[in-house]
Amino acid sequence: MRANRSPPKLAQRHLRLPADTEELRALRHDLRTPINPLLGYCELIVEEAGDAAPGPFLAGMRKLHATGAQMLKLTNEIFSDQPSGLRQLDCAELQCEFRGPAEAAATLCRQLEQQAVVAALPVAARDLQRIGVAVDRWLKRIEEMLEENCR
């Protein structure tokens, strides 16, 4: 299943990140880790498919990469020491901010996987399945983080 869980009730609660440095460090690590394969496989697919891939497929891959970059930006913002508008949101709104790009990425993955199959790009299709798994892991960990740290 990809990025289609129903949101828990988090309205009027705010994110209170752990004061413990090690816990915070582990959380940040967990949330950044799935974005590495997401971005890396996007770049690899474009490199490997190269001129053999249809233009719309490559455009879709660039869009997926941009969505992954947005997920990374959100992740970094949450842990930034600088004041961020994100931190002012209640947890239900925050969850929507995170779910938006994750669901967009999951949808794009499915579409691009089908396009890769049609275009006879089996390696790209398999790598897109892996990107889908990474997106799922990121969203699952985000939702766990919100459940654990919204008060």
Binding site: L24, R32, T33, N36, P37, G40, E47, L72, F79, R130
Partner: protein, 128 residues
């Protein structure tokens, strides 16, 4: 063809990064935890090690310390690779003996430039 030992426990990251390095002409050997990384490093004597830091069995800091404490492997450059991107991480990696530091998500051109510098290779060309 420079030989790289990639020590990484995450299967997707291992697959993705090793394929990207092979495309650029590197021979890539793999280890899935720090202990295996130390053993492979001693057996294979790679030209460079890319070491994830958060590893099972033996973490990347300890594995790097052991590589750098062994006469036959201490000359091998180690690049630390980690999703820990907080202040102090680079210093912590350097203290363990890492020669360079990269954060995940990997920016490949930057990683390749660091590899080229440590391997004394010409600056990397764009991907084929």
């Amino acid at each position: 063809m420079p030989k790289i030992l990639l020590v990484e426990d995450n299967e997707m990251n291992r697959d993705m990064l090793s394929r990207r390095l092979v495309r650029r002409g590197f021979e890539v050997s793999l280890a899935v935890d720090g202990a295996e990384g130390v053993t492979r490093c001693e057996e294979e004597l790679p030209d460079l090690v890319i070491m994830d830091l958060g590893l099972p069995v033996m973490d990347g800091w300890e594995a790097t310390k052991r590589i750098k404490a062994t006469t036959t492997t201490r000359h091998i450059p180690v690049i630390a690779l980690t999703a820990h991107a907080m202040m102090g991480e680079e210093e912590r990696a350097a203290a363990a003996g890492c020669d360079a530091f990269e954060t995940k998500p990997v920016e490949l051109p930057r990683l390749l430039a660091k590899m080229a510098a440590l391997l004394k290779l010409p600056p990397p060309a764009p991907a084929p």
